[in-house]
């Protein structure tokens, strides 16, 4: 059943406060157990042999010498997995195709990127497993490769997939190509719109792939027993989705696989996909022992994530008074080795912050010889928004209109028709713009070589399948079993707070636990900022189910009609106008006697949450540019965002701060660097430069609360919006500081210095 639960305004005791997270003490004492911290008796260590080539046909694989090495207990290759036909399923950001999933976890006909798995070994120790990898002989026929998205779209580019014919074009193409899919989102008439424009600006942008950069490398441990059952402990954003995928690629019954989501050391979209899990199960099946596999950081960079690199073209027209009349964009996204990037979502949110009559966005999904992209926090949106918000900034500058004012003149609001589909319900975009404009940081004085930039972001947010159970314990406490992984933001605390609010008991009397896949019905992955929205809705409904059962119990014990019992302040008491007087029963009293009055009480909910509320944010970035070296320093950074309702404001701020700094890293220095040979040159944290503490300032957070009408507490979801605007805000701030527009990401010192010199050479004001 699809479910929406309407928002009710009511006095709150727990929601909106800042209690400590239930996983906190374990995390500050080193007790928290992440996947790599699990061990099983008799376990083997598994390691993966990876392709050293960007593109090659596998002519043969000889594992005999590895198998003969003492201590090696199993070796698996493509021959140990069934081939899969094209079949789609939902998985986090994107629809996945099992034909590709099985080829990505273990190469079949060809290797398609540096780092593509070719074989896996399980041995008594890591050092034996590593030595065994060196004994596997793979014969490759090296093929020409293509890394760049624009190059890959050319007709004579090296072809990754001989059977890939562009989807979404008519007539159907006769020749295969790297262009997997073309999509067009449109509304109104561009010709009309550009005719009405007084000012038209057309610009091109390029971005490099960036990695989610979670600090915990992928890890899992699996055991397969002789009766055909498998158990897996892994770091994942969605253990039910992993179970589904494992069942498919290993041709097992879902009921025979049990997955436990361990404490997760960061994901950000990058832990939505199976990598080592099927290999560990296959190795365990072959060796009859548990197999533990932990990726190295180098493997994480070479073979997981990243997000797309892209080429983006934006053309905007507007009137003299700043009303946008036409908006056109082309987004060319790298999908990596297999089709399916975030280009569709990027297309759908490129212009969606604005109320526009005439829009067209063309999206291209392009396969290249790089690791298959994974979701990364608001997948694709930062890339599209970098281009769009830069051009809007340029418009404001040319028209002499304040950049926030220009955005206010075009801002989407309730009732705005989007170009991708629905009309907006109540949204808080305009509120964020007003609050940003009024913020003291918007007027803070700027020093020499300093500048200020504005940019905005929008994300859809999602609901989807969610299950939850709430057990009322015999002492009057409650245990909440959740199926949505707490991907770090603190959703366990938020759920427990909402449940405590519903039950009318203290927050610390509710213990939230993430159940394994045997504990609950299906739960979709924690993605799309759905954790607190959908998980919260399920938890609230489980609590309401338990309350309903407790009311019934009170009615039976007190021998009054059900309608006479109201639930308030943690007890069943006479309903106003209910017609019966009786001694109220507290939750503790009900719980204590539950066994003898009809059995223990638990609430359940199994829903498909609909009604997610779109989120909007406005960012103010202040930068200082060293004109002689091109170094950009972030001086101040402010986020104003509508979250609907902040259940736990400190954890909402945490999402803003973390998302902003990821966005700052993306803007300034993060990038995948490939050599001419198609091999990744910076697979480590030394040369893949995520921000360190001394690179960033404090982040000012302003929480705006325009309730989502479709959630009992008004939650929209908040985790993804913060990463969308930083790239554009920083680029706009650089322009404001030194009069140079940066349209290449990352805005690293060599690129910035080059742009400064080019501008000086062109006679621009520097």
């Amino acid at each position: 059943m699809s479910t929406t639960v309407m928002y009710e305004e009511k006095p709150l005791k727990v929601v909106g406060t800042r209690p400590l997270r239930p996983d906190g003490v374990d995390k500050v004492t080193g007790r928290a157990r992440y996947a790599a911290d699990y061990n099983l008796p008799g376990q083997l260590i598994g390691k993966v042999l990876r392709s050293p080539h960007a593109h090659a046909r596998i002519k043969s694989i000889d594992t005999s010498r590895a198998e003969a090495l003492p201590g090696v207990k199993a070796v698996v290759t493509r021959d140990d997995f069934p081939d899969m036909q094209t079949e789609y399923a939902a998985a986090g950001e994107l629809t996945i195709n099992f034909r590709d999933v099985t080829r990505n976890m273990m190469a079949r006909e060809k290797v398609l990127y540096d780092g593509h798995p070719v074989a896996a070994v399980a041995a008594l120790s890591a050092s034996i497993a590593r030595a065994a990898l060196g004994l596997i002989k793979v014969e490759y026929e090296v093929l020409p490769h293509v890394i760049d998205v624009v190059e890959a779209m050319k007709p004579d580019a090296p072809l990754l997939h001989e059977h890939q014919f562009t989807d979404g074009v008519t007539p159907k193409p006769e020749r295969p190509s790297n262009l997997a899919k073309r999509m067009v989102f449109a509304r109104g008439s561009l010709d009309e719109g550009f005719k009405q424009a007084d000012l038209i600006i057309e610009r091109e942008f390029n971005t490099k792939p960036v990695h989610q950069g979670y600090i915990e490398p992928q890890a899992c441990i699996a055991t397969y027993t002789e009766d055909g059952q498998a158990e897996v402990w892994t770091g994942t954003q969605g253990h039910f989705v992993f179970r589904a995928q494992l069942a498919k690629v290993l041709e097992m019954d879902v009921s025979k696989i049990r997955v436990t989501a361990t404490e997760l050391g960061g994901g950000f979209g990058g832990k939505n996909n199976i990598y080592n899990e099927p290999l560990a199960i296959a190795l365990s099946r072959k060796s009859h022992r548990p197999v533990k596999m932990v990726m190295t950081r180098e493997e994480v960079f070479r073979a997981t994530g990243p997000t797309s690199g892209a080429n983006v073209k934006v053309k905007l027209g507007c009137t003299r008074d700043g009303r946008i009349t036409a908006a056109d964009a082309e987004l060319n996204f790298q999908a990596g080795a297999f089709a399916g990037s975030s280009v569709a979502m990027a297309s759908m949110c490129a212009f969606t912050r604005y109320d526009l009559e005439n829009v067209r966005v063309v999206g291209h999904d392009v396969t290249v010889n790089r690791p298959k992209v994974a979701a990364y926090r608001a997948p694709g949106a930062p890339i599209a928004v970098f281009g769009v918000e830069s051009v809007i900034d340029e418009m404001a500058e040319k028209l002499g209109i304040d950049p926030i004012e220009l955005r206010l003149r075009n801002a989407a609001k309730e009732g705005t028709q989007t170009y991708y589909g629905p009309k907006f319900g109540p949204i808080g975009f305009i509120e964020t713009l007003h609050r940003a404009k009024a913020h003291p940081k918007y007027r803070a004085p700027l020093g020499p070589n300093q500048g200020r930039g504005i940019a905005t972001g929008f994300w859809f947010n999602i609901g989807k399948e969610t299950s939850s159970a709430l057990h009322i314990n015999e002492d009057g406490t409650a245990t909440l079993i959740m199926g949505t992984v707490d991907v770090a933001g603190g959703s366990r605390a938020a759920m427990a707070m909402m449940v405590a609010e519903e039950l009318g008991i203290a927050y610390d009397k509710v213990r939230p636990v993430i159940g394994d896949t045997s504990a609950l019905g299906f739960n979709f992955i924690t993605a799309g900022s759905r954790g607190t929205f959908a998980g919260g809705m399920a938890a609230v409904l489980a609590a309401r189910d338990a309350i309903e059962k407790m009311r019934r119990r009170v009615a039976r014990i007190r021998e009054v009609p059900l309608e006479a019992v109201a639930w308030k302040d943690g007890r069943g008491q006479p309903a106003e106008g209910g017609g019966a007087q009786f001694k109220p029963m507290t939750l503790q009293e009900i719980a204590r006697d539950a066994g003898k009055t009809g059995g223990t009480i638990s609430g359940h909910s199994e829903i498909n949450a609909e009604g997610a509320g779109p989120g909007f944010g406005t960012h103010i970035a202040d930068v200082e540019v060293d004109r002689q070296t091109g170094l950009i320093k972030i001086v101040r950074y402010t986020i104003v965002q509508d979250v609907g309702k902040a259940i736990h404001p400190a954890y909402v701020e945490g999402q803003f701060e973390g998302g902003a700094v990821q966005g700052i890293g993306w803007a300034l220095n993060e990038e995948y660097v490939y050599g001419a040979d198609g091999v990744l040159q910076n697979p480590g944290f030394l040369d893949y430069r995520v921000p360190v503490a001394s690179d960033v300032p404090f982040i000012d957070s302003v929480i705006v609360e325009v309730p989502n009408p479709n959630h009992p507490y008004g939650v929209r979801g908040c985790g993804e919006v913060p990463i969308i605007a930083p790239m554009a805000a920083i680029s706009n701030a650089v322009q404001n500081a030194i009069g140079v527009r940066l349209r290449e990401q990352p805005m690293s010192p060599p690129r910035v210095l080059k742009a400064i010199e080019a501008a000086a050479g062109a006679g621009a004001q520097v």
Partner: protein, 158 residues
Amino acid sequence: MGKHRVMATVNGDAVEFLCETGQTLLEALRDELQLSGTKEGCGTGDCGACSVMLDGRLVCSCLVLGVEAQGKTIHTIEGMAKGEQLHPLQRKFLEHAALQCGICTPGMLISARALLERNPDPTEEQVRYGLAGNLCRCTGYHKIVEAVLDAAREMRGA
């Protein structure tokens, strides 16, 4: 030649373990001594998740060999609280919401304690540089820096 037999003091306890020459102190702590609070994020000294104190020096345990621990004194996250009493830094990290996924937290706390031992009254900038060897991808460092400054205040009795 077989494995090395190493005797060391970890969090005040005399311990003994066996290791190969190539095994790191991090591997010895996690796999031989079951002290898995120290984390591996990179294995190359670039993320700080494996930070421990070795004879009073802050080090990345992934860049120390297990065999070098012979006769040495090591402090890890597991020894930071004294019984029920959390270290002020641990408490402030909780109160300030200075952790999310928690994978960097043990190393971050060890580094923060080392910082405050050298400099009990650091500025914001000194805290940021003092923790620059510890990557955190979740928090943007904001609440971590606040928590360390607040803990420093409390520890100084200010």
